[in-house]
Symmetry: C2
Subunit: 575 residues, 2 copies
């Protein structure tokens, strides 16, 4: 979800200004049963023959993965049709700032049509929801316009040659009763705007002259569930808002505000280094934010939230004016249907191989929060790895044979490298050598044993914007070089099959993570175990976020929002 | 309604920065039946005795009139309690710009609490609706928090010593069937935001691949009803949006867009000079905006609008994707009840005297769009005017007697002056002299006859922001000097009573009017019959609107919105 981080690709990816002349998006859509030719500008007929030979790529979703894919598409040998219920891309890491008006919602969104126009390739967009995928017939079914006044439901289907699923995920309630009805989520721009209105509503309500103090206190009890970066940042922003702005405009109410953060685990920000966790917990304590660790929410009602304390086993109830729920993600219902249909049952996301392809479907890709990469285990393939490496079929591997293939092994099974690093071994030969002397010559049994532990190093990628953006970029790069790589494959050896894979597998590079803690304090965890906390990180955070914003427009707007907040404070108008 | 105009008071009124220390708003509210002491900061008890001697002023509404009143209050001898369903002031002349994103909604609003804080006097605010006024017991009844999740309806009453009614008006549908259900109004910020979303919805819907061309054309038929400044400006803004932004992002749809403006009268902008009207009609014709004059809308349905053409008497139906209704204003339902209660039946607004006091209620004031001034007729008072002027009771007036009182007559009955100006008479003596020679000496019959026509010059003030703002400023000035003027009345002679009126009556100064026509063209009609059309007026418009914005914050934001629009275009994200 979050993308608190990084130092890379930035400018190249985000600064491109396109040739303005290439606005012609022409594409053919077979729908319902009839053939409908649909032109988005200019002379349609003349280009039709030409167009129809292009491969049709359907992209579902305009979040980090989908948008990053679109931005990086360079090849004009595809007709791209994007389908999403949202006609814009949102820079989600700033959503917590939108909730209380540090940054305006409009400043962090970019219409997907401008993104498409700037990329300079043929991209058509439909504001619709995909409700069914038919992988056998290469078709997706979409519906649009739930608003009756616009003409009601409009359903259509689109054929594809390649399908890119980047539909994201939804907030996970873990089936806790009352969460859907009474809690706010913080995943979409609409969520952030709803929270903003609600916060102001609460303060206005608490200002009414007849309201007893007890009632004011209940209204101004804000409870945040989930101590991940989003929850922590929202708590920090809310605290800043109360102390910087509310205290001036609603001076009598400040003392009644209570912010509580419930975390089921032992610590907040548990994906961060211990030093950051400790600092954050300390800062929140000083700020008066009540952090309750080991609190597992069991029920949310209209005015109360109940949590079970792990230590005592007791269920404690708190009154609340607002609950913000930010505990993790789950699969979207549309995708659950699809997963059932293709036999991926009981998975939290669509399973792909290391090239982001859906298992069993060569022309369907899934990326971002809706997907998870099923990294192949070394032990599954140990026999074929051995036999491929043992070129002379001697039954043993010598160093020479081994060195020919070691690169491919490490590329295909990245857990090997992680294991070596973790155990401070220089290379795979060291692993195999162990007690033996200079020359390496091992049989399959020994080989199996030596590699038996590497699979324990496999980890799922985090569901962050950083991962999604890298996947989108990777996939676009594959599409751009599809023809070339068909001829000259660049990937590792196929251990099970023959020849090489067309592409290098996707490899995630972690560029670190930020956690804004309020009051100009930000914690940063950067690669190489580098930790930084304080004002300097805040400025690093400002500058990196600004540089990663999707366009010059959003960049200018967000920076001017920050400036405005410094000068004028946040706006408390209830619109 | 609109406030397209002016060159005055500006900086003094809007630039004030308050002493930040005076945030203490303490006030006593008797509610329900019990006495509730309500403090908005600091030590309540010690100031209580002091506070309770202050006069309680309740202000209903935070529009132009109410906010202008608050901004100009300087006297600390009042406790002011503001009640409004909106906790912000909106700069309504820019609403048409908000509808399509030339300016952001947040940029034109200012929280009423910051306005109050900056004014430096004791102001308390409650976000609530006044649903009943009880003038006999000096009480208003309010309700707040219709949202059940916040605790449902909260009702309370407030006592007042003075009541200032500035609740504005609502759009007038003239009971045309279907308008409430199927048309958009353009009076509130919410209206503008709804229109913005709807416009984008329509373009997204029309982009769906399966939609037939006929349907696209219907969806993109925008019909604006009412050729006043708001309707004209919205039509112009929409046209700009289509040609500057939509044509880039939805290139294939541009040709299907049709903008129609229906006006029941003979011309659009009929309150403006003929030259402006002609220019506007010509420009709209060149732009392809279809202006249908003499078209009286008789029905609006979900997908069609029917209008009767005055010339032919035929009823013509047009398909529409969206109707924006902007034909004038009517009284709010809450005020209709109140008007019934106090016997003001069949009036379009609350009737006040020339000091903005409700007729029959010395401590209730009404201003802005919800009020209308009932200017006293000369002919009603002609006998008392004559006898007051005839000091020596001679039965005739001579020049000397007349000159003593002429100033008071003109101040009390401004229609006299307008009549003189219109008939190019130097002064009232000229009027009386007529055929007679040097010395004026007239009897009552002659006096009556000479003044018999002046009442024909009485006109209601237009329902504009300019009038409302001047009324708010005027009333605040009266309140600020209430004690002084009780002792030393400064107003004209009371012809019916004895002594003088405390204050000068309210006198409206018209500073001209703007009508933005799109494409950087603005028509300006300034006092002294000065007409200006074109780019220079556009810059005049920019600079005056910027200078009149309510705070430095809104000023900065609006100007940066304009800049952003020039550089990046408007945002078409649907949020």
């Amino acid at each position: 979800m979050r993308w608190s981080s990084f130092y890379h690709t930035a400018s190249r990816v985000f600064h491109e200004y396109p040739s303005w002349s290439k606005c012609v998006v022409v594409c053919t859509v077979i729908s319902g049963g009839g053939l409908v030719s649909y032109g988005d500008a200019g002379p349609v007929q003349s280009e039709y023959a030409n167009q129809s030979q292009k491969k049709k790529v359907v992209v579902l979703g305009t979040g980090w993965a989908g948008t990053s894919f679109l931005k990086n598409m360079k090849s004009s040998s595809y007709d791209i049709h994007v389908v999403s219920p949202r006609n814009y891309f949102a820079f989600t890491p700033l959503l917590p700032s939108v909730t209380i008006g540090t940054v305006e919602a409009r400043s962090i969104v970019e219409p997907i049509r401008s993104v498409a126009r700037k990329s300079g390739v043929n991209i058509q967009f439909s504001e619709a929801e995909c409700y069914k995928i038919d992988p056998k017939n290469n078709k997706v079914y979409c519906r649009a316009g739930q608003d009756k006044k616009l003409g009601g439901l409009e359903e259509f289907s689109i054929d594809y040659d390649y399908l890119v699923i980047a539909m994201g995920a939804r907030s996970n309630t873990f089936n806790t009763p009352g969460v859907e009805e009474h809690a706010h989520f913080l995943k979409e721009v609409e969520d952030a705007l709803r929270i903003r209105r609600k916060v102001i509503d609460l303060f206005e309500r608490a200002s009414l002259p007849t309201l007893p103090v007890e009632e004011k206190k209940k209204l101004l009890s804000f409870v945040i569930v989930g101590g991940g970066p989003t929850g922590v940042e929202f708590a920090a922003e809310l605290h800043d808002f109360v102390h910087e702005d509310i205290s001036k405009l609603y001076p009598s109410l400040k003392e009644y505000v209570k912010i509580t953060l419930l975390e089921a685990g032992d610590h907040i920000l548990n994906m961060f280094d211990k030093r950051i966790t400790e600092f954050a917990e300390g800062k929140f304590q000083r700020d008066g934010i009540d952090v309750k660790l080991g609190s597992m929410v069991v029920k949310v009602s209209e005015k109360e939230i109940s949590a079970k304390e792990r230590g005592t086993g007791q269920v404690v109830s708190l009154p609340h004016g607002m609950v913000v729920w930010s505990t993790g993600i789950g699969a979207r219902p549309e995708l659950l249907d699809f997963m059932k249909q293709i036999g991926q049952i009981n998975r939290r996301a669509l399973v792909t191989d290391e090239w982001l392809r859906m298992e069993g479907y060569d022309n369907i890709y899934a990326l971002g929060d809706c997907a998870t990469i099923n990294q192949r285990r070394v032990m599954e393939d140990i026999a074929v790895i051995f036999s491929k490496t043992d070129k002379n079929n001697s039954g043993t591997l010598d160093l020479k044979e081994f060195q020919d293939v070691v690169g491919d092994i490490i590329e295909r099974y990245p857990q090997v490298e992680i294991y070596l690093k973790k155990n401070q071994m220089k290379d795979i030969a060291t692993l195999l050598k162990q007690s033996q002397e200079s020359s390496v010559s091992v049989n399959i049994e020994f080989f199996k044993e030596a590699l038996s532990k590497v699979d324990s190093q496999m980890k799922n990628l985090p569901a962050t914007a950083q991962v999604a953006a890298q996947q989108g970029e990777y996939l676009a790069d594959c599409f751009n070089r599809m023809e070339l790589c068909e001829k000259y494959p660049e990937g590792p050896l196929r251990f099970r099959g023959t020849g090489r894979h067309r592409f290098h597998p996707f490899r995630y590079k972690h560029f670190g993570q930020f956690a804004p803690l309020g009051g100009e304090q930000t914690a940063a965890q950067l690669p190489g175990d580098w930790i930084s906390i304080g004002r300097s990180s805040q400025w690093l955070w400002y500058s990196i976020y600004a540089s990663k914003l999707v366009s010059w427009r959003t960049r200018t707007l967000v920076v001017s929002d920050w400036g405005r907040r410094f000068i004028f404070g946040r706006d408390s108008s209830r619109i």
